[in-house]
């Protein structure tokens, strides 16, 4: 098409040099490499690690954490954070348990539970958007408030005897535990949405540069609400899976679940940057967190060390992500200077 034009076609220079490419590969595939290294170390250290039942056990353990991590990732991609995922799940568990014990059909109880998650997300986003608060503070308030609400509803006691969701939490399909299948299905759905749809593309854009997205005609406010609402619904799903697994609704969940979820997201390279995030890597991050916990137990290391390891892992992951990004920037800048100099 470019034929009789006044200017000739100019070749834009290839701005990426070999060292930058290497750093990028490190950033893009480092987490996969780390996971295999972890598998290698544990399989050498413990003969039972690579057995089928143990691997399925890791996946089962990862199934709940990975749902929280996925919920968190959507918010972090949009450039915010949600500390309230765990109490949302606890609240949903309690409400679904009460509904089931009151004789409400399973499908309706589940729908009510997901609806409660939806409303919690809506609440978080509304506080952030309309009261002009940072997501950290807003969701910290939600975290505390919801924890209190759940304790008030239950009087601090678990709700026992919820059997209707046992097939979801404990059953198997084709030999695989159903929570694992829920995890895979949810990840597949969210993965497709994030990588293949207009919604995913725009959410990444708003997270990467909200002002640029706004100027390109993207309705910013919608993309402030959507990730929190999605986060609330997925957290609710996690709460329902936990209810099915335990057969009872617990008023309090371990706080470590939130830390594990955030660590998984950080390992996936989503944290800090905003606008960046691969859903598959979030799954890998969750698997790493679950694998470390599992491997340390097999090696008879005190579970207290799991906290220490996970904490260090979070710090190292965030540091490495930042360091690599800065190195890429520095290296590509210096390369550009050299090219300029060569031309002059």
């Amino acid at each position: 098409m470019a034929t009789a034009d006044t200017t000739k076609v100019v070749e834009a220079d290839d701005a990426v040099s070999a060292p930058v490419r290497a750093l990028q590969i490190g950033r893009d595939y480092g987490i996969g490499g780390f996971f295999f290294l972890l598998l290698l170390i544990f399989s050498l250290a413990s003969p039972t690690f690579l057995s089928g039942p143990n691997l399925l056990g890791i996946l089962t353990a990862a199934s709940v954490v990975s749902l929280f991590a996925l919920a968190e990732a959507l918010v972090v991609i949009a450039g915010a954070i949600d500390l309230s995922v765990v109490p949302i799940a606890a609240l949903v568990g309690v409400i679904v348990a009460l509904s089931l014990n009151a004789g409400i059909p399973v499908w309706l109880a589940v729908l009510i539970g997901l609806g409660v998650g939806f409303l919690c997300g809506l609440l978080n986003a509304s506080v952030i958007e309309f009261m002009n608060m940072s997501s950290l503070i807003a969701t910290l308030a939600t975290l505390t408030t919801l924890t209190g609400v759940v304790l008030l509803i239950t009087n601090g006691k678990p709700i026992f005897g919820v059997t209707a969701l046992a097939p979801l939490g404990q059953g198997r399909t084709l030999g695989v535990q159903n929570p694992i299948l829920v995890m895979i299905a949810t990840y597949a759905l969210v993965g497709i949405v994030m990588s293949q749809t207009k919604f995913g593309n725009r959410l990444l854009a708003v997270g990467g540069n909200a002002e640029a997205a706004r100027r390109a005609g993207v309705r910013r406010r919608f993309y402030v609400f959507a990730p929190f609402v999605a986060c609330g619904v997925i957290s609710a799903g996690a709460g329902i899976v936990v209810l099915g697994r335990l057969g009872s609704a617990q008023p309090t969940f371990a706080n470590s679940i939130l830390f594990d979820a955030i660590t998984a997201v950080a390992l996936a390279g989503v944290l800090l940057s905003g606008g960046r995030g691969s859903i598959l890597k979030v799954l890998l991050g969750s698997l790493i967190v679950a694998t470390i916990a599992n491997g340390l137990v097999l090696l008879r290391v005190s579970s207290f060390w799991t906290y220490v390891t996970t904490g260090l892992l979070l710090a190292v992951a965030v540091w490495a992500d930042g360091a690599v990004s800065r190195a890429i920037e520095r290296t590509s800048l210096s390369t550009e200077h050299r090219k300029e100099a060569a031309r002059a």
């Binding site: 098409m1 470019a2 034009d5 006044t6 200017t7 000739k8 076609v9 100019v10 070749e11 834009a12 220079d13 290839d14 701005a15 990426v16 930058v20 990028q24 293949q196 749809t197 207009k198 919604f199 593309n201 725009r202 990444l204 854009a205 997270g207 990467g208 540069n209 002002e211 640029a212 997205a213 100027r215 390109a216 005609g217 993207v218 940057s273 905003g274 606008g275 960046r276 890429i328 920037e329 590509s332 550009e336 300029e340 031309r343 002059a344």
Partner: protein, 277 residues
Amino acid sequence: MLEARELSKSYGAVKALDTVSFRAVGGEVIAIVGDNGAGKSTLLKVLSGAITHDTGQLRVGGELVDFRSPHDAEQVGIEAVYQDLALVNTLDVGSNIFLGREIPRKGMAGRIGLIDRRAMRREGREALRDLLGVEFPTMRRTVEMLSGGQRQAVAIVRSASRLEQRGRGVILLDEPTAALGVAQRQRVGMLIKRLASKGHLVVIVSHDLPTVFELASRIFVMRLGRLVTELHANDSDLSTLVGLITGAIEPTDITKVVADDDATASSDINRSSRGTK
């Protein structure tokens, strides 16, 4: 194509724009120069709809327009590329070019919101080649990995391809060469000439006077909110221009060149102008 009549804008006692009038047609490159605070940016923002002028008239393709937002300006074919470029660094080139108007997949898949990334890369590549004459090695690269010149090209082509969809229009460039090295500056210069040769009106605001001389056919000099004079690039020189900008030379000191042949303002744009009076 673009005509301003006695545009004024005040901030309190400060006259940021003082009865500015000019006329320009498609195919031209015009430059707005002036010292800091001379009103260049204010003029650019009024033209792009980012701010609203107090008095005076603005006509696009002969029709009176009244912009309330940049969106209004885009509706009549005026696109602005600001200095910060407004690109999303973490997205690839194709996604940036089509941000806000993603290409849907064909059929049912498109209706439920699936986008055709391959088409976006292909059409982005074609737009870069056809509109700007730039060939990118890969469209998958994220914008953060591009050189300054490449980023400028992506930002310009995004605006230019929006204009192409509706025929011809006006593209406003704020300091297009500010962050660039020598070679890249030349490259962006070629892009600008090429846009004008496609029939668009290109308006650049710049401090880079040598580039201004090289690219623009006419140079508008602003001082203290007023458009003090208009130079034809071929019959003027850098020292005169600098003198005019700083106030060392008064416009009356030189023979004024008034272009009447531009009076035939073309109406390339079929607009659905909002607020047309």
